[in-house]
Symmetry: C2
Amino acid sequence: MLVTDLVNIRYLTGFTGSNAALLVHVHGDQHTLLCTDSRYSEQSARQAPDIRVDIARACGRRLAEFANESEYKRLLFESNVVTVEDHATLSGTTKGIELQGISGLVEQLREVKDDGEIDLIRQACAAGDAALAALLKAGGLREGRSERDVARDLEWRMFEAGADGIAFETIVATGANSAIPHHRPTEAVLAHGDFVKLDFGALVDGYHSDMTRTFVLGALSDWQRAAYDVVLASQLAGCEAVRSGVTDGELDAASRDVIEAAGMGRHFTHGLGHGVGLRIHEAPAITKTGEGKLLSGAVVTVEPGVYFPGRGGVRIEDTLVVRDSGAELLTLTSKDLTIV
Amino acid sequence: MLVTDLVNIRYLTGFTGSNAALLVHVHGDQHTLLCTDSRYSEQSARQAPDIRVDIARACGRRLAEFANESEYKRLLFESNVVTVEDHATLSGTTKGIELQGISGLVEQLREVKDDGEIDLIRQACAAGDAALAALLKAGGLREGRSERDVARDLEWRMFEAGADGIAFETIVATGANSAIPHHRPTEAVLAHGDFVKLDFGALVDGYHSDMTRTFVLGALSDWQRAAYDVVLASQLAGCEAVRSGVTDGELDAASRDVIEAAGMGRHFTHGLGHGVGLRIHEAPAITKTGEGKLLSGAVVTVEPGVYFPGRGGVRIEDTLVVRDSGAELLTLTSKDLTIV
């Protein structure tokens, strides 16, 4: 099988360079061949010491040539990764070989995490928790600061707390902006009475964390309390429903039902959550129509929200490990309604 | 034409969400249709006010259905973007339509930047220059600091200097690590006599900058001076050779010849440079075998380097605008050999 997705290659070999392809052989690991370019010859030897490495610029093509020279009968490729153009090149290079597309095979392996992977996600979540605690302690959420300043401050504190990087573009959304589910921080200034929504994560050795908390600045109004209480109840119901064997749709419903019962269903405009690992979004997708079952060892988010355009919104999100007996919570920051 | 590459969609519409597809019609802009999901309904209306927006989760599929309902005869798709799997879905959805793959059409448009784009890259380069100047002024390159600390410090200073983000994972490589062209910062500590190589960039409104400088810590040895002088002469020759009409291969040669003449050719293990814009690496690729001609208004890097495994390496890189009469330098930090 020719693997060309870089995250899948990292998962299978440990190699993290930006140009690579991998040939995995049905007859065992001793036939595995990694290809990368000359910039990464030292790094590949260090990160994947047990794997034979070939150096070329056009890695996929080089390995296809190798498969051809080796007279392989059949070559699987990642049909969810290989483009139509690359497929044409691959076909041209491997004339004697039967090409067979396969979708999401390595992604499926990645869905269940081992203890080492969970530990890295736990570390990333802890960096997020520590950063947010430090931000709050330093009075970092205060009137007059811009969304951008708060985002930079929070990111800096994640690095201080041991993150290698940020998991995705940090969302800081204040006031009416908090009604935009995926808002990019602007020069908008935090003001008295605002909802301030923070959605952020850290990266540790390639693994991501993901957490959202929503605060109220200075004073709370009735509609804010109503919205917050409903989302919190929904989020707790979702966390409670996480265990292996539950379907993605059932989990979504456990959380969504609470919001719908409160008459706010049409303000919850997205799915409940997603898997987290070497990518910030990976399998499973936890949506209304999801039919897959949660697997023990998967790591998922539970993140219901309600959004009132022009006024504001609330989202509360945790990252959790799916276990047979329930969920292990990795993001530990309090979810109690907090006025800062 | 169905456009599904998110950067191409951003280029054509201004919309920056993480899920979108775009239908561009041969009969004019009034037929353009953008699709994104419900998280981005506010944002798409704000960023692409003149474009009709449809809301759906599976955007590509939704627009393919629309093309089908509208009885389009022919639909172009991006063969360098659409995967084999997505192509099968597209074929299934558009039974009456002739599908035709086209590779890199929007990328080709993106190669030549307009003044507004160049200005954003200029701002990104200025943020990089300012950050490095501030780092040096604060004594940020000093013995005993880790590569990671220096990387975080430099990134923080880019934000302070107006960057929206970092352009790519910052490279800080000290001592023997500087011999690794693409090194990730580690806990390795800067030591007396080290080469310290910094390769970094800022992001301003989606546009990237890219610059490399190599410093010497405390004291300079003869081999370091020899290597630095050769790379600097090579880099200056490369910058001198930049003008519209020159081929990528000729530009590469102008710089590489200097290193080869000094007998260090085999230590220059990568291409000379690449285009920079909405992606950190885009067209053109400036390599030995490049046959394309530089276009006026393209923005490229010139980044020769020599690497001595186990000892250290030097790279010097600028970002430049290609003009008819030569190059406009955007990264303005001095390239003189500097002992810090």
